[in-house]
């Protein structure tokens, strides 16, 4: 366990023999048509069950369970906080002037008010804590995961307009110049981290944020915030607009859609020429490269927007190598050794003996990354499919 804990890499290394690793790798690297251990297609996700608003005491929450038994719940809580160095610096006259000004503009959309304060939105107002069984909260894995998910969340910025969010999440948290919301996102992995938990946690967080509501503000302008005590009047953190496009009507019960959504971080691996989504533990163990790609939908176009890519230390680096017969003392000199041919792995450019496992040394070709990103972003691609699927869960 001690070794596992220190591993910042994608997951604990499963106890798989070099021969098995080699077998897996070979199946997954079949050109154009990889064979995955569970029979999925390369872009197919594992079935999952999801629901939102499971924790009544939170502002928003979600639970997602993968078919392999891994489960996570996420709760989002919001708190009003005073923004330091805010209006105290202003004189009374300035405050009044400001209040008068904002009252005047009150007729406009609320985006107006947000725009003024958007510059002061800060990433530190979103706090994320991840708890994984068997890990301390200052262990590398939870800290790394949290940062990996928080970063695209606070940095994603989108345009205004109806249902838009000026200044992104940061901007949405601004109440006025003196007050803001602080968001606490608590992520709890309920099961052992059988596979690298990033996709699960990201999906759950996404759902939780979509269902998050903030009490409706009743005060105006620079006044101390004062809220409606009716929870039903609370407004979604990610504003919703009434659906207009018929395309979405396939989703049952969905009357409103989000123009802006929180980002989703997808885990993608490459094995030889193949790009595989939602890898399970064994698949990660043989991956040439593991990438966490964060995307969100773009308000302006229908397409998706890439927010961040992070490479994750592939666990295959730490696996035991297989020994080719040619080097094996036991088989040395046997005829079998002569049959082994050395080939060059197209994705890593290294020489390998077919059927013999060699740990990956890291490094990935540009081409491969480009391909991965493209598969996520393209119209009708995996990213869109995932977001659409999540929209179906949400609502309710």
């Amino acid at each position: 366990m001690a070794a596992q804990r220190q591993a910042s890499s994608a997951s604990q290394i499963p106890h798989i023999s070099p021969a098995e690793l080699s077998y897996l790798y070979t199946s997954l690297s079949l050109p154009g048509n990889p064979i995955r251990p569970d029979g999925r297609s390369p872009t197919q996700f594992r079935p999952l069950s999801a629901e939102t608003d499971i924790l009544l005491g939170t502002n928003g929450s979600a639970r997602v369970g993968f078919a392999d038994g891994t489960q996570a719940i996420v709760g989002v809580k919001a708190e009003v906080e005073r923004t330091p160095l805010g209006i105290e610096a202003l004189s009374q006259a300035e405050q009044e002037e400001y209040a008068a000004e904002s009252n005047k503009k009150d007729t406009g959309s609320n985006g107006d008010g947000i725009k003024r304060g958007s510059s002061s939105g800060q990433g530190s107002w979103v706090q994320m804590a991840i708890e994984i069984p068997g890990f301390r909260d200052d262990d590398a894995l939870p800290v790394f995961l949290a940062e990996m998910m928080r970063e695209p969340l606070v940095e994603s910025v989108s345009a205004g307009g109806e249902g838009g969010m000026v200044g992104g999440l940061k901007g949405r948290l601004v109440i006025n110049r003196r007050w803001h919301w602080r968001l606490y996102i608590d992520v709890l992995l309920l099961s052992q981290p059988l596979s690298y938990p990033l996709p699960l946690l990201s999906l759950t967080t996404h759902l939780a944020l979509l269902s998050t509501k903030l009490p409706k503000l009743k005060s105006k302008g620079e006044e101390d915030p004062f809220f409606d005590d009716d929870w039903n009047a609370a407004e979604y953190l990610y504003p919703r607009v009434k659906s207009t496009s018929t395309k979405r009507s396939s989703i049952p019960g969905s009357l409103s859609v989000h123009k802006v959504r929180p980002p989703v971080t997808l885990l993608v691996i490459s094995v030889a020429e193949n790009i595989i989504f939602d890898p399970n533990r064994e698949e990660i163990a043989v991956a040439d490269a593991v990438l966490a790609i964060s995307v969100t939908n773009n308000t302006d176009s229908d397409g998706l927007k890439l927010l961040s890519i992070r490479t994750i230390d592939p666990p295959s680096r730490l696996t035991q190598p297989g020994v080719p017969n040619s080097e094996n003392v036991a088989t040395l000199g046997s005829t079998a050794a002569a049959e082994e041919s050395v080939i060059v792995n197209p994705s890593t450019g290294e020489e390998e003996v077919l059927g013999v496992w060699r740990p990956r040394r890291g490094g990935i070709k540009r081409m491969t990354i480009a391909k991965m990103v493209k598969m996520v972003l393209e119209k009708g691609g995996v990213g869109e499919e995932v977001l659409e699927g999540l929209e179906g869960v949400e609502v309710g």
Binding site: P47, A50, P215, S219, E222, D224, F227, D229, G389
Partner: protein
């Protein structure tokens, strides 16, 4: 990607569990989402006596009240089979007075939903409703509909809270109908009462019709009752106003700030919060004491006071410096200024009538003409109301506002003039204007909208004819919020079963003797005012072998009879104090305890709580001891009797000797107290000896209080006992001891008085400490004017803050000081029969001395949480103050009546010339003076027309005098505090009179009745000044 949602429909328990979600904003600015889980049940009873199921099902362990809804509820024309009423929140908001009415509104089902909504909207109404639910007579049942499975209503998507609550009301009505039908299946269909929903919401009425629920608006329902005219008057006025006025455009008052704007301003310190007070001499001027400033801020005029009524907690904004003014020097009374207002006319109403405008201009001129001393004071305007402290007001219908059509049954607007001059007149719609003329009536304020110059309210009930004893006494009690209703049965149930036959147990083994010392051998006596029935205290003294004395103060052991938190205790804590009126006593505790079982009557054994000291002959305390005891008082003296006995040298018995010892010691104690700087304060009190007969002069009953040595004997030992007890309970309960303090008044309170004394008499007042003040007050004498010293003391007392009860934890120890008594710590221990504070102190002291009581619980009973204690302190401080005011008002009324009786007697001989007395000028205004008449303990305003100039006749009617005012003119010197009154055109002649502050004047006092104009029939004490300088 597939997703699944867990399915709960198969779980049978989900129906029972539901939750309530809301947002709570805390004071610290936190905003929380609160989720309350609700577990629905099916055993909440319907409480109808018709029901056969509920009594069997209702849980036995819970305290389910007996079923209240009658099996034969009253019927009306519309509901001959009888009906149960289910009001919604608005019905209660608009018609609480109706629901309290004893003529109708029986068998009412109050929903939990409605009660909670009412609590959010109006706390006073909520408390009144709770009181209604508690009484048995009205048969109100609080139905916990939110907890019952069948009647719980889940809020739908996009359903507003109001709609949901309305639906809840209808659901309950439906359920009750079905439930009653089911349980009475065997009986005749006829006997099922109709469930009538009362709501004023049109949408709700419509939906009710759709759903087959009987629903009526409050007005429609009331119209179907007998006595509808009277009852309709009791509906809240603001409701109608809201509908009718939406169109009318003119707004008289500025809008209030939004709540959030006020909160922001308060936190930032730009706005201030305080209680709005109206000056007793000028109804257009108010003042507000806020924490941020030493002196109160002034609120000038209607516009700035912006619909605030005296007593409201308001938020104010300081006005720019150019609008600062000095307090007015003029007496302005609403009655006189706004004589000709028409209650119906809204159109030509300006907030400030022309007359008012003129009055204001005058003041501005004054303020501007001021020199150094009358520097303009900061003024402020009201920008919002935090809490309305509106109550029910006693008043009279302004006869001039009833208009010509006085006889019809038509509804009309009239003005009601409240007794309290600080409250503006109230516009009331009534159908019975003609009947109400000349009556003392009770009204309430419903609203004060921006488009109305005066508040609107509605009539509640009539107290009776003006000037009848019953009506005036009740008016007085209502005005001062004294709880005067007879004790309810639940309270009387707490009394000992033996009643008047209760005795101290003979056997010392009885549990009543637990922890009690037998002091029956001591020669104890009590000294009280004559005719006193509730004897709280008794004393004794005896020499000890070592030359010292044992002195004991024995206080009635009320805490033995009143156990904490029972109905009697709660009632007493609400009443707070016994209220003494001239001819009536409103007891805090039931008669049986106050005048018999607790009262330390002579010759019988009584439980007591004793404080025993060993004192040296120099009254130094060697040791003190506290104990519960049994005593037998040897004699109950009046002050005079005690004095006579002490002074009679022929009496040498032990009892008299012990009284002499007490007197001796008390004199030393008093001297010590004076040396420590205690103040000798004066209040303008007179005593009424109410055993008058028809013969003789009614005024003979009015006596100024005489002070005998025996008065001070009792007083000294009581003070001493209180101080000793205070120290003891504070040492045991450093946080929760019940103490009493008198804050050191800030020196600026005295500024005006110091100035006046310096100017007029060249006397100095040293207010640096209570001792210094006491000494300088002693020096304020005038050989020509023996009353002058008392007058100064009265004025000085008014500069001080009033003493208050507090919880030890609420202040630092240095703040415990009692300024007037010059004691570092003080409490009230010696009058538990008539003060609730003393009862609490008794409990605390019993716990402090580890007295266990009959059942060993006394120690626990003594403890009380700080929050609860602070609530009690707030209430008893309020009650105590009101009791004093009520007592004074009662004396004032009595004096007025005595003057009237005398006047009538003399009038029989043809002349009502009033009575001549000495009076003293207390305050000088620009258009009048305030004169104090010690003989009757009254002070009154003397206006210009009431100066009897040389050559003028005293005998003029009120109307004649009023004519004079136009011919009078005055010259007011605010520097010298003088007022010169002259006849117009005769300035130089001898037809002038000049009065100054502190001056002794001869006055003519009589009781007069207004004969014409506004306020016809209103009686007041008129003071005429006969001679000045």
């Amino acid at each position: 990607m597939k997703s699944l949602r867990r399915d709960f429909s198969s779980d049978p328990h989900t129906a029972n569990v539901t939750s309530k979600v809301f947002v709570r904003s805390t004071k610290s600015g936190k905003v929380q989402k609160i989720v309350r889980e609700l577990y629905l049940r099916q055993d909440i009873p319907c409480s109808s006596r018709l029901c056969t199921i509920c009594p069997a099902v209702a849980p036995e362990d819970a305290n389910v009240a007996p079923f209240v809804l009658s099996e034969q509820p009253a019927g009306t024309a519309a509901f001959p089979r009888g009906h149960y009423i289910v009001p919604d929140t608005n019905a209660l908001l608009n018609g609480m007075d109706l629901f309290e009415h004893t003529g109708a509104f029986y068998d009412v089902i109050i929903l939990q939903t409605v009660l909670e909504e009412l609590k959010n909207q109006s706390l006073p109404l909520y408390n009144r409703l709770l009181a209604l639910i508690k009484t048995d007579e009205k048969r109100f049942y609080l139905f916990f509909n939110e907890f019952r499975l069948e009647t719980h209503v889940k809020r739908g998507q996009d359903e507003s809270i109001n709609d949901r609550n309305d639906r809840a009301v209808r659901t309950v009505a439906k359920w009750y109908t079905e439930h009653l039908r089911a349980v009475t299946k065997s009986k005749k269909e006829k006997s099922i009462p109709t469930i009538v929903v009362i709501t004023d919401d049109k949408e709700n009425l419509r939906k009710a019709k759709e759903e087959n629920v009987t629903a009526l608006s409050l007005e429609n329902y009331v119209s179907g009752l007998e006595d509808a005219d009277k009852l309709l008057d009791m509906i809240n006025e603001s409701r109608e106003a809201r509908h009718a006025k939406e169109t009318s455009g003119e707004l008289f008052y500025p809008e209030y700030y939004s709540m959030s704007k006020m909160m922001t301003g308060l936190r930032a310190g730009n706005l201030h919060q305080g209680v709005f007070n109206v000056s007793p001499y000028n109804y257009l001027e108010g003042s507000i004491k806020v924490a941020a400033f030493d002196r109160p801020l002034i609120i000038m005029g209607r516009h700035n006071s912006n619909r605030a009524i005296s007593g409201d907690v308001v938020v104010i904004e300081v006005l720019p410096k150019v609008q600062w003014k000095s307090p007015s020097t003029k007496i302005v009374e609403e009655e006189i200024v706004t004589k000709n207002d028409n209650p119906d006319a809204d159109d030509n109403e300006a907030v400030v009538t022309e007359r008012e405008q003129r009055a204001l201009q005058e003041e501005v001129r004054q303020a501007h003409g001021k020199n150094l001393e009358g520097r303009p004071q900061p003024t402020a305007k009201v920008v919002g109301i935090v809490k309305r402290n509106w109550r029910q007001y006693v008043g009279t219908v302004d006869s001039s506002s009833t208009g010509s059509q006085a006889t019809g049954r038509r509804q009309q607007n009239v003005f009601v003039l409240p007794m309290d001059k600080k409250v503006p007149k109230i516009r009331v719609r009534t159908r019975q204007a003609a009947d109400l003329l000349g009556q003392r009536i009770l009204v309430t304020i419903d609203a004060w909208n921006r488009d109305s110059r005066y508040p609107t309210g509605h009539f509640i009930r009539s107290l009776g004819e003006l000037e009848t004893k019953g009506a005036e006494t009740e008016a007085l009690l209502l005005e001062w919020d004294v709880q005067y209703k007879p004790f309810p049965k639940s309270v009387l149930d707490c009394l000992p079963k033996e009643g008047h036959d209760w005795r101290v147990p003979v056997s010392k083994d009885d549990k009543g003797w637990n922890g009690r010392r037998d002091l029956r051998d001591l020669l104890i006596c009590s000294i009280d005012p004559p005719g006193c029935q509730d004897i709280d205290d008794a004393l004794h003294a005896r020499p000890l072998p070592n030359g010292n004395f044992e002195v004991g103060v024995h206080i009635a052991d009320v805490s033995h009879f009143v156990k904490p938190n029972n109905a009697m205790d709660l009632e007493a804590s609400i009443r707070g104090t016994t209220v003494y009126l001239v001819d009536k006593r409103i007891d805090m505790l039931p008669h049986l305890l106050g005048t018999d079982l607790c009262s330390l009557k002579p010759y019988v054994e009584r439980y007591a709580f004793s404080v025993l000291w060993e004192m040296t002959p120099n009254a130094e305390v060697v040791s003190s001891d506290f104990t519960k005891s049994v005593i037998r008082s040897r004699e109950a003296f009046s002050y005079e009797q005690a004095q006579l006995r002490i002074d009679d040298p022929s009496k040498t018995d032990d009892l008299t000797q012990s009284m002499r010892t007490l007197l001796q010691l008390s004199k030393i104690l008093r001297q010590k107290r004076m040396d420590a700087g205690a103040l000798n304060l004066a209040s303008p009190e007179v005593r009424i000896e109410a055993d008058n007969d028809e013969v003789g002069d009614p005024l003979a009953d009015v006596k100024t209080k005489a002070m005998l040595a025996t008065n001070s004997l009792v007083e000294e030992f009581m003070l001493h006992a209180n101080i000793t007890v205070a120290a003891k309970i504070y040492s045991t309960f450093p946080q929760t001891a019940m103490l009493r303090r008198h804050a050191t008044p800030p020196p600026q309170n005295f500024e005006e008085l110091i100035n006046q004394l310096t100017k007029k008499r060249d006397m100095r007042l040293d207010v640096s400490s209570s001792g210094a003040l006491a000494n300088s007050l002693d020096r304020c004498t005038d050989s020509d004017n023996p009353f002058f010293n008392t007058l100064v003391r009265i004025l000085a007392t008014r500069c001080m803050t009033s003493a208050e009860y507090f919880c030890a934890g609420a202040h630092a120890e240095s703040e415990f000081r009692h300024y007037g008594l010059a004691s570092p710590i003080y409490t009230h221990f010696t009058s538990p029969i008539r003060r609730y504070a003393d009862l609490l102190v008794h409990r605390q002291l019993s716990a402090a001395i580890n007295y266990e009581g009959e059942d060993g619980r006394a120690t626990i009973e003594g403890s009380i949480t700080r929050n609860r204690l602070e609530d009690i302190c707030r209430n008893i401080n309020y009650r105590h103050r009101n009791a004093q005011y009520a007592g004074r008002a009662s004396i004032e009324y009595y004096v007025g009546q005595a003057l009237k009786a005398r006047g009538e007697k003399l009038a029989a001989d043809g002349v009502d010339s009033g009575i001549e007395e000495d009076g003293y000028v207390m305050r000088v205004f620009e258009n009048g003076v305030v004169v104090f008449v010690p003989r009757f303990g009254i002070e009154g305003v003397v206006r210009l027309e009431d100066f009897v100039l040389p050559g003028d006749s005293t005998n003029r009617s009120v109307a004649e005098r009023r004519e004079l005012v136009t011919r009078r003119e005055s010259d007011f010197d605010p520097e010298e505090y003088t007022l010169k009154v002259a006849e117009k055109g005769h300035e130089s002649s001898d037809r002038t009179m000049c009065v100054e502050l502190f001056q002794r004047v001869r006055v003519n006092v009589s009781s007069v009745k207004e004969e014409a104009g506004r306020g016809v029939g209103k009686r007041r004490v008129r003071i005429l000044i006969l001679n000045g300088k």
